[in-house]
Symmetry: C2
Subunit: 396 residues, 2 copies
């Protein structure tokens, strides 16, 4: 009897304890930061209000260029690895709750507007995979290819975004195309195919209002823009006629269009291989200014209040982050963050900026209003940083 | 022994069961809808992905004109009752975890950009109360008053918003003023006082970029606008020179400025007591069109994709909601929702619209892309609907 009693008490203690711990360990999912540990096949989940690491989720595949999207309730993070593993991470329990192989070489993903599916863009095989967000079943594979001289040419897929109207939009890197899929129809039809939009799209963005899809082109001097309200034809935007052109520098990295910004009616677009940031008027794309910088911009990210644009660099001065005042278009602050600054992300309402220093195994937190570093913490080879505020933004 | 064993098993079953239930009952907090049950002193919490009621939290005071703001992680909803009770609702456990009396007659609230404080605007007493969001301690009371002919005149406070730079901005209804408080300083100093901005501000909004604070004036023909980047002086915006003026109708309700909208570079502003919606160009405030409607607009809310503006009415045709296409500025759909439509709110990325029919004790859910009613559910005297997406938007 005594023995059973003890066991019973032990169980009670154990369950009571877990239960109490459970209560203490609960968190809302609205302001979490998921930081990719690039060489560690893992992510850490951070509370961006307290700047504390809540935990780590491991064994996620090859995370070079890994990308993350969120369910709309911000409960789940979906991460796609470079080697084609799509994982579903529960941000309440910090466990992987599902995984599926979606390709041999994958590059991006998005969650549909209705929150029901995940669309993955592959380099290989040349398909867009549609996965049921709840069951993680493979529900469709859209072949991405073009007929050229009677031959079928498969294409790598880039610039995958979800868009209002429950659409998916993506670009065909090897076929100079932009396609639009209706994710509200059970067979996921490609409802529009735009061809010869320019040479070799390499990335794309959706404007914050969800209306314009803009693709960057590796071998053309313009950008291709599609108005999703019209779904008519793509327009060319020429960003290559700046007043003050500086000498070209060797290309280290193609600027990601995800790091382009709009703020204060202006459009900030890094150009490939130059140590400056051209500023255009939104809409007309008239060049306003070309801001000289410490290096070749990799990302140029507007703060949520549009007050500043934060820039990091590839190649020369990769330790630095420069902050541009949108009102004056001048650099107002230069931070030495650490070896190889990779990514930046804002906390909700822009109070803090998280910046990853890949080689220093460090994430630096800056109070955005005061432009002051307030904390540094250890993260293993940090690269991409993804705030759960993305759960509510079309195109992310 | 046997008996202890049974008890032990029972406990095990009980804890195992609760634990399992706990897991099943978890949810992310990113896409919840909190619906005020106006005459029932309660709110219901709804999963806006499944359109299911998760639970009810009661005993919240007099909820006429009740307002809700959220912690940035969307874990907590802060609700202010008309009779001055501020409650903290845990959206993971659906329990009230704190309450404090902050006034005799309260009207609005906001959470500061740094997520540390709740600022409550009172009618009576004439103070802004600052409450610690974590401890719920009363940390400051800012007297709101003006010296007039040597006498101190207290003022009701309206249009309370949080703004970038960790600021609080609000208007003085009985003193024709706008004040700015630095919520980043421990003594919450009023750093700017603007006087004679126009006669009797009654409500205000912060533009979505967090830059402009615009106050509506009951007894002036203009609006007062403050540029928070400059913090210089207020400007007058005149919205009262429309091309097509219709006959005035009796005022039933003053349009809330929170229901004004910007979309597609346009500004939609209901005017008091007229059955039309004037549309202005953003920035210049030039009148583009005056759209004839079924009644006097109460709220005119742009969908998150800026594609449509949804309008409900006070007085005549209070059962209806009309949808305006922003591209054509024409009414494209009219819904008969139910008796006394009070409020509308979008789910994340705008896939669904929730609309409260106060007198019918019903909330109607519409698929925004297809403009189709997909569900109705029972809610006791529903009025305000607050999505947790507000947790990340300055000014809400």
């Amino acid at each position: 009897m005594k023995r059973y009693g003890y066991i019973c008490l032990w169980f009670l203690f154990f369950f009571g304890y877990s239960s109490a711990m459970g209560a203490a360990d609960q968190w809302g999912t609205g302001s979490l930061m998921i930081i990719v540990e690039r060489e560690n096949s893992s992510v850490v989940v951070v509370d961006s209000l307290k700047h504390e690491i809540l935990g780590r989720i491991s064994d996620l595949g090859v995370l070079h260029h890994a990308s993350i999207s969120f369910s709309q309730d911000a409960r789940y993070a979906y991460i796609i690895s470079r080697d084609g593993w799509l994982s579903k991470l529960d941000l309440l329990t910090l466990e992987r709750v599902a995984k599926v192989k979606v390709g041999d070489s994958s590059i991006g993903l998005t969650v549909t507007q209705d929150n029901r599916y995940i669309a993955v863009s592959n380099y290989k095989p040349a398909v867009v995979k549609i996965i049921d967000a709840e069951t993680f079943e493979d529900v469709a594979a859209i072949p991405v290819e073009r007929e050229v001289n009677g031959e079928t040419v498969p294409s790598r897929v880039v610039g995958m975004v979800d868009a209002p109207g429950n659409l998916l939009v993506f670009s065909l890197m090897d076929a100079d195309g932009i396609w639009v899929v209706d994710a509200g129809s059970s067979d996921f039809p490609v409802i529009k195919k735009y061809w010869d939009i320019g040479k070799m799209p390499y990335d794309a963005l959706l404007t914050p209002d969800g209306r314009y899809y803009i693709a960057g082109l590796y071998h053309s001097r313009h950008l291709a823009m599609l108005d999703l309200w019209e779904l008519d034809k793509t327009k060319e935007i020429d960003l290559n006629n700046p007043n003050k052109k500086t000498a070209k520098m060797a290309v280290r990295k193609v600027p990601h269009l995800g790091g382009w910004s709009m703020a204060g009616g202006l459009f900030f677009a890094p150009v490939v291989a130059e140590a400056r940031l051209p500023v255009y008027r939104s809409g007309s794309f008239e060049l306003i200014k070309s801001i000289s910088l410490a290096g070749m911009p990799m990302f140029a990210m507007a703060s949520p209040d549009g007050r500043h644009v934060w820039v990091n660099f590839s190649g020369q001065n990769h330790r630095l982050v420069q902050v541009i005042d949108v009102a004056t278009l001048e650099v107002v602050k230069t931070f030495d963050i650490g070896d190889r600054v990779f990514n930046m992300e804002f906390s909700p309402k822009g109070a803090y900026v998280y910046i990853s220093s890949y080689k220093d195994n460090k994430v630096v937190v800056i109070a955005a209003n005061k432009l002051q570093i307030i904390k540094k913490f250890d993260v293993n080879t940090p690269s991409g940083i993804f705030s759960t505020i993305r759960a509510h933004i079309s195109g992310l």
